[in-house]
């Protein structure tokens, strides 16, 4: 199953990935990162399809995408 | 150039000096009275033979003085010996780029063949850009080395020194002449060295193969970083002030009145001195060759009764440096004209007789 890993310290919480994930797997966290910003978290229990939409739109290059 | 002695105008002598100093990049914009320089570069630079380590010799007529100086910035950052030339109003435009060159520690040679100002002024010879040249000229705490030739031969020689100094200290160097020097034809003895190979520049931008990336920049945003950098620049300027003061002295051992003049004005002063000496008057000359660093050493004259007479084609700009150098020990007089009028021998002789 494909998966993504989010670099939460570099995330600025712009939420563009949240908007473009076709499966709705990415959510804004209630926690703050080192920058004092609400980063995003991914819940992979619903299947990530490895479409890379989140990584392509991320302005901060925070998302790595993996596939089998 | 097979002949070793050729007849050149000051403008052409500067261009020929640059070519032999291994200049591989020239960008300029036409302006009187330096047009012979850009024309000479257009004609001879691209065909002047390869310089080791450089792809080509490049001449560009830029769309403006701003573009020209910033092309020089790029070429210098890329490791070339780069030059531009202009005259007073054009140099005002170039000041932005000169400040950036200084702030990025990039070597370059900038020629200013001065004309009358302010504003569009006129195209007659003048020396009224002394402040602009020696005080930095643009924004920020910086200096450029300023060399003031008084003959076509010296224009040729100092341009070559200018490239060496620029690389040695990683600083812009200005060759400061005036319209008389630029236009005047004189024999110039060409140096036997053909084309100088510029030093290897480890900081230059040429692709980061096998090393970390190089950055050419003058921007220091981190707190304290700019002050740290400025102190480094100041240290460099102190070394330049210690080592690079240049002047010519004449009859300094017995002179009661010492004329102080540079460039074309110094030539007229010399003629006046020769007449005055023939009439038994003890008159000498200090001719600053480096205007920055100003040759303060020349003014370490012990006799407190000596008087200085500063002669300029301006209303007293170098005068301030002479006063600083003399520091109140001796009397400093001034005679100047600006706006196209040139001080004559007679005017100088009259003034000397009054103050002797």
């Amino acid at each position: 199953m494909p998966k993504i890993i989010i670099n939460q310290d570099k995330c600025k919480g712009c939420l563009l990935c949240v908007n473009f994930c076709p499966k709705g797997l990415i959510k804004k966290s209630t926690k703050l990162n080192k920058q004092g910003l609400n980063f995003v978290e991914v819940d992979l229990k619903d299947n990530c399809i490895g479409c890379m939409q989140c990584a392509i739109i991320c302005p901060d290059c925070c998302i790595e995408v993996y596939k089998e | 150039m097979a002949k070793t002695k050729v007849l050149l105008s000051g403008n052409e002598a500067i261009a020929q000096g640059a070519i032999q100093a291994g200049c591989t990049f020239y960008a300029g914009y036409p302006i009187t009275p330096q047009n012979e320089l850009i024309a000479y570069m257009a004609k001879y630079l691209p065909a002047s033979g390869a310089v080791k380590g450089q792809a080509a010799r490049v001449f560009i007529q830029a769309e403006s003085e701003l573009a020209a100086i910033n092309m020089v910035y790029g070429a210098s950052a890329a490791g070339a010996r780069a030059m531009t030339s202009s005259s007073s109003p054009g140099i005002s435009l170039k000041q932005e780029g000169i400040s950036y060159l200084a702030g990025s520690q990039l070597p370059a040679v900038i020629v200013n063949i001065m004309r009358g100002g302010p504003g569009l002024g006129n195209i007659a010879p003048a020396q009224s850009d002394y402040f602009q040249a020696t005080r930095g000229g643009g924004h920020g705490d910086y200096h450029v080395i300023v060399l003031a030739p008084a003959s076509a031969q010296e224009a040729y020689d100092l341009t070559q020194s200018g490239f060496d100094l620029a690389d040695k200290y990683r600083t812009p160097v200005m060759i400061l002449g005036d319209g008389v020097l630029g236009q005047m034809m004189e024999p110039v003895k060409l140096s036997s060295r053909k084309i100088k190979t510029p030093p290897v520049k480890s900081w230059a931008l040429c692709g980061c193969a096998g090393r970390k990336p190089n950055i050419a920049k003058s921007f220091f945003l981190r707190e304290g970083a700019l002050e740290e950098f400025n102190l480094k620049l100041q240290k460099n300027y102190q070394i330049i002030q210690q080592k690079e003061q240049r002047f010519e002295g004449l009859f300094l051992s017995d002179a009661k009145v010492i004329l102080v003049a540079y460039g074309t004005m110094a030539r007229i002063a010399k003629s006046a001195i020769s007449q005055l000496r023939n009439a038994g008057k003890q008159v000498g000359l200090i001719r600053p060759i480096s205007l920055w660093p100003f040759p303060e050493r020349a003014f370490q004259i012990k006799n407190n009764r000596v008087k200085y007479l500063v002669l300029e084609l301006s209303y007293g700009q170098m005068l301030q440096d002479v006063r600083l150098a003399v520091n109140g020990r001796q009397q400093v007089e001034f005679l100047g004209r600006s706006g196209g009028g040139i001080l004559s021998q007679e005017q100088i002789i009259d003034k000397v007789k009054k103050i002797l």
């Binding site: 494909p2 998966k3 310290d9 570099k10 600025k12 919480g13 712009c14 939420l15 563009l16 473009f20 920058q35 910003l37 490895g50 890379m52 939409q53 302005p59 901060d60 290059c61 998302i63 790595e64 995408v65 993996y66 596939k67 089998e68 | 960008a27 450089q54 792809a55 080509a56 490049v58 560009i60 830029a62 769309e63 701003l66 573009a67 020209a68 910033n70 092309m71 020089v72 910035y73 790029g74 070429a75 950052a77 890329a78 780069a82 932005e96 780029g97 950036y100 990025s104 931008l205 040429c206 692709g207 980061c208 193969a209 990336p213 190089n214 950055i215 050419a216 920049k217 003058s218 921007f219």
Partner: protein, 242 residues
């Protein structure tokens, strides 16, 4: 598992100073990806502008130069003429390229300098606080067009890409957008094309990138992307211009 999307060698692994949702981060990455995919990192020299992207060289892992405001294409001309075998590009905003640097832009293009230009059009001055840019849309409110840009007071949005397309020295101009992942991929192809043109000695190439500035548009990052799609693209249509 195989990593199918990661940061390339040409983009340093550091956080940028840009605001959340700013398009510069994406555009920087696209430049780095183009450089990496062409294998030219060790022969690339970038020229950074004055504007929000002034320290772009802190994010790119190759040689770079700064340039005074608007002078990037003059600086790039100097570098490229000294090193014709290297790949030299400028990265400039709308104020830099199309206001203070218009002269340098037009003449570098007209000389057909063999350079690549990444032109970030976000219709506003970002670094100085959201003032009117040459590309600000009619009606768009900025710090210096408080009631919105008017024809009478400020003139029209400047379509510099269309102007440059008239010049014979220009080989390639394309306008792209960062409004969604599909358009970002098109932008990536266009930037790569601009570099390839230079490698093939074809002359002056420019990619205009419609890029979001949420902070000075007063919109959320997603609303900013929608604004590009629904409003900005009407004034600045996407596609190959030359």
């Amino acid at each position: 598992m195989e990593k199918i999307f990661k940061r390339g060698e040409s983009l340093y692994d550091v956080a940028t100073h840009y605001c959340p949702g700013c398009g510069h981060g994406i555009a920087h990455r696209l430049v780095a990806e183009a450089v990496d995919s062409l294998g030219i990192r060790e022969k690339t020299i970038g020229v950074a502008p004055v504007g929000c992207a002034v320290v772009a060289y802190d994010y790119w892992n190759f040689d770079c130069s700064e340039a005074a405001h608007g002078r990037a294409l003059a600086v790039a001309t100097g570098i490229k003429r000294v090193h014709p075998e290297k790949v030299v590009f400028t990265y400039q905003g709308d104020g830099d390229l199309a206001a203070i640097g218009t002269n340098e832009t037009i003449h570098a293009a007209n000389r057909g300098e063999n350079l690549s230009v990444v032109f970030i059009n976000n219709a506003v001055y970002g670094m100085t606080g959201g003032q009117l840019a040459p590309t600000t849309l009619l009606g768009q409110k900025t710090a210096t067009s408080i009631e919105g840009r008017t024809k009478k007071a400020h003139g029209y949005p400047l379509k510099i890409s269309e102007m440059l397309a008239l010049l014979p020295g220009v080989c390639y101009i394309e306008r792209v957008s960062l409004e969604n992942p599909q358009e970002v991929l098109k932008a990536k192809r266009a930037i790569k094309q601009a570099f390839e043109n230079q490698i093939n000695n074809l002359g002056f190439s420019l990619v205009e990138v419609l890029s979001p500035c949420p902070t000075y548009w007063g919109l959320s990052p997603k609303e900013s992307l929608d604004w590009i799609k629904l409003v900005m693209r009407k004034e600045f249509p996407l596609g190959r211009i030359k």
